[in-house]
Amino acid sequence: MTPHSPGTGQINTLIWIGFFAALLVVVAINLGLLGSVRRWRGGRGRTAAATAGKPGTQLRVAGALSGFALILFVLGIIFTSNALSTPKTTSAGLTSLNGKDLEGKPLVIKATGQQWLWRYNYPNGSFSYYKLVIPAHTAIELKLMSTDVIHTWNVPDLAPKVDATPGKTTHVLFRADAEGEFWGTASTLSGQAYAPMRTTVEVVSPERFEEFIKEQQKGIKAGNEGAEEIETEKIEEEEKANGGGEGGEEASSEEGEEGEEGEATEGESEEPAEEGGEGEEAEGTATAAAGEEIFSEQCSVCHGATGHGGNGGPDLTTMPLAQEQAGAEKQVTNGGGGMPAFKGILSEEEIASVASYVVEDINGK
């Protein structure tokens, strides 16, 4: 481990203290053991030894051991409480956000664990998956929650491990002093895709951080409108009034649902021209190619590089929803069944292209 925060610096020191204490113990015991074996093997000793040694020996040994334990205990408490208390915002860090002064309080970010990724909610309502972006030199308080099983948030270079336990909110307090990207892993078994449930923390300058969450917010607004659209989809489906306006874009357009999806997309008032334009790229080869890139970035973590599953995500060739454009888009947008919702992370366009990649290239439809 290479500590990049004051807290982990303390932890690292404590680990080394523990290591030298352990080394001392191991060396002393094994030297004593092997020494006596060498000295007394093969019947070189006298047979009648004292059974109790000098009086007081046991007390002295016990006293020495207690002292050793006490020193470790005190050091343990000192460095542990240091590790907890060191994160303080410095002048170089983020001091205000959205015009509001942080007043020396840590920047609160909500991290929600689910099988098998992390969602980070920033103070301005924006969020991101997998990657946490934080400002450097700023105390961060991560509020950990879990929607399903116990996940351990573990970015060793920056912060102590803390469990996200469902039904409880736990906290990690840390401050990153170096810009850069730091990786983290899950460290409590949480199911099939536990091993690839990784996260990264990107430490950026405070200015860049503010920019980032604004960008995210913009993207999410656009995404949310798409999502509302999809929520109303079911009702529209029941009505089945409008027929498949744009539905002809896919070869397998017979399905009513497909048509509905096309209709719904078209009905979106914000970007009608773009949507229409996408619809006109009928074969979708370009979108599928773009989708491949998105797939390898976002989906292959769980579904495997070829989409045949393996890292916890199911084999896409066996999933009924992945056989058709509308179903795939719906699943990617809203998530469910262990899969996160990608609305807000991917634009609607991107969702469409990744869905067409799944349907056309992976399933060969």
């Binding site: 982990t8 932890i11 690292n12 680990i15 203290i17 523990g18 290591f19 204490a21 352990a22 113990v25 191991v26 015991i29 094994n30 053991l33 006596s36 074996v37 007394w40 093997r41 019947g43 070189r44 000793g45 006298r46 047979t47 030894a49 059974t51 109790a52 040694g53 046991q58 040994v61 016990a62 051991l65 207690s66 334990a69 470790l72 205990f73 050091l75 343990g76 408490i77 460095f79 542990t80 399903d148 099983v149 116990i150 060793p156 102590p160 491990k161 803390v162 336990t165 039904g167 409880k168 892993t185 899950a186 078994l189 949480s190 199911g191 099939q192 536990y194 091993a195 393996g310 916890g312």
Partner: protein
């Protein structure tokens, strides 16, 4: 009483022909503590093989980065099986089986006080083993070594695997509790005349401490298992967070058990090593009362340190400091035991036979494991080290030291008593060095991978370019060597049952009463219950016999002298 009565042919017993029972009939109906213990020990040998095989399979998967040898769910199943097998079906039955076999003999008892309880316990344990491995019929659990809810709840693992896992381990634990009741009572009431606790062998004392420990921790685990089974099958909400349950409760309850079981394995090993060191050095155990007190202290303090497994869980910092205090407090009794055991060797005439070799190896491995555990009991250090392969390595060093090396030391030591034959010495040495090399090679690289690169536990794969490829390859090779070592010991044991060198009743010149009985002991253990005058009763008996022989000789010499 009955021996002084005259023969009465009209009573059927005298002339009644003894019923010849088949092997299986005997196995299933015998309530003799030695037979029940044999079921446990033979079974645990088999499960050691399976556990080592499962570990080897997992290490094969982890030999190279991003390996696709096993699917993730297969890996998790093997992991869950490995956890149950190594704890509930290898380590604990070996420990409890040896306690049940040896401790009543050591205190000069003619049997156990509540034999049917032990029998029930042994059969329950066997039933658990059958349930665990027939779990293949309905897919094994995928919830890991300790199936933490909510992952082990129905919502996340909906097949019957977790139920089978819980039932199997629950049966086994229930069996251990029943045997513990029998042992605790036996060691309380059935000691030979004159055998006060201060004269009781360290191993028998530890059996009593361990039984009481099991009586406390076993029901705690059974309660947790029952709650989870209710959650899964009858819509309970003990651990489901939505309905007011608490996933944390499970962690508290199970870690109490696991910490206690860890302490149980350790005190078993310390006690067996103490007996072996004494016998093979010819010295009395150095400061017996201190060792006995320390063993009791480890049982209590080790269990009270359960929260040191929960440093990352949402419990108050004060609780974590309490756990750290308890864990560090263990330094005192453990250190005293190490000190006194090494002192026992001093000035002795060491007979370097396999039991002593294994005992020394066990102490060495335990020292490595416990020192690493000490490092991880520091709260801050654990925030980095817990749940990395460094903690895996620490636990494995301590438990392999205790259950495998310590267990094998005890096995080599008491094998002549159990079977009447000795285990092969040459193969014993070879297997010892194989095991020693294997465990170092398997777990030192894992410790380094965990410490340097934060490689996490239980993961079915690791990624390329994370700096752990070489470590993992080494660890996999190490586990292969370890596996070979285990197989060698098992081969040695199986072969020696039929063809080992015949051993008399006391091949090692032991100090304790089990060596007074025949090898193997008859159903009633002792024809004559010896009178105990010191803490080395058999030495007294040997001395008395020698003195008697000398006197007879002298008298004969005197009588043959011509009268002057």
């Amino acid at each position: 009483m009955s021996t002084t009565q005259e023969r009465r042919p009209e009573i059927a017993i005298d002339g009644f022909p003894r019923q010849k029972r088949s092997f299986w009939h005997h196995l299933l109906t015998s309530a003799d503590h030695k037979d029940v213990a044999k079921i446990l020990m033979v079974g645990s040998g088999g499960f050691l093989f399976l556990a080592a095989l499962e570990l080897l399979l997992m290490r094969l998967q982890l030999a190279s980065p991003e390996n696709t040898f096993m699917r993730p769910c297969t890996f998790n199943r093997v992991l869950s099986l490995y956890g149950a097998t190594s704890i509930f079906f290898f380590a604990l039955p070996l420990v409890i089986g040896l306690f049940l076999y040896v401790a009543p003999l050591q205190v000069g008892a003619r049997g156990t006080a509540l034999p049917r309880l032990s029998q029930m316990g042994g059969l329950l344990w066997a039933a658990g083993a059958v349930v665990l491995y027939s779990g293949f019929l309905w897919t094994p659990s995928e919830a890991g070594v300790n199936p933490l809810p909510p992952l082990s709840e129905l919502a996340f693992l909906s097949n019957n695997g977790v139920d089978a896992w819980l039932t199997a381990c629950g049966f086994a634990t229930f069996g251990f509790v029943l045997i513990a009741i029998d042992l605790a009572v036996t060691l309380r009431v059935d000691r030979a005349p004159g055998m006060a606790w201060r004269r009781a062998p360290v191993f028998a004392w530890t059996a009593a401490v361990g039984s009481w420990l099991m009586l406390f921790i076993g029901p705690v685990l059974l309660a947790a298992f029952t709650m989870l089974l209710i959650d899964r099958n009858y819509d309970g909400t003990f651990f489901a967070d939505g309905g007011g349950g608490a996933p944390l409760l499970w962690q508290h309850l199970t870690w109490i058990f696991y910490s206690g079981a860890y302490a149980l394995v350790l005190i078993f090993a310390f006690a067996a090593i103490a007996e072996i060191f004494a016998v093979f050095s010819g010295n009395p155990i150095f400061n017996r009362p201190v060792i006995m007190g320390s063993i009791a202290a480890i049982a209590v303090i080790g269990t009270l340190a359960w929260m040191q497994n929960m440093y990352t869980a949402p419990i108050g910092l004060g609780y974590k400091y309490f756990a750290m205090f308890m864990a560090l407090l263990l330094i005192v009794p453990v250190g005293l035991i190490f000190f006194n055991l090494i002192q026992t060797l001093k000035g002795g005439a060491l007979v370097m036979r396999a039991p002593l070799l294994f005992a020394i190896g066990a102490l060495s491995a335990i020292s490595l494991g416990l020192a690493a555990e000490m490092q991880q009991s520091l709260v801050g250090a654990a925030w980095y080290l817990k749940n990395t392969t460094d903690s895996t390595a620490a636990t494995h060093f301590a438990l392999i030291g205790g259950a495998v090396f310590g267990g094998f030391a005890a096995l080599h030591y008491w094998f002549p008593k159990i079977t009447g034959r000795s285990m092969g010495e040459q193969l014993g040495r070879i297997s010892f060095w194989t095991l020693a090399a294997g465990s170092l090679l398997a777990f030192v690289p894992q410790a380094l991978a965990g410490w340097e690169q934060d490689q996490v536990v239980d993961a079915y794969k690791f990624f390329n370019h994370t700096g752990v490829n070489f470590y993992n390859l080494l660890a996999s090779i190490g586990v292969l060597v370890l596996f070979i070592g285990v197989v060698l010991v098992l081969i040695n044991a199986v072969a020696s049952v039929k063809s080992g060198a015949r051993a008399g009743h006391d091949p090692w010149k032991g100090d304790t009463l089990e060596w007074f009985a025949l090898s193997p002991p008859p159903v009633h253990n002792f024809d004559v219950q010896p009178d105990v005058r010191s803490d080395r009763p058999l030495l007294d008996i040997r001395d008395a016999v020698a003195r008697r022989a000398r006197e007879v000789e002298e008298r004969a010499a005197r009588q043959s002298q011509p009268v002057a």
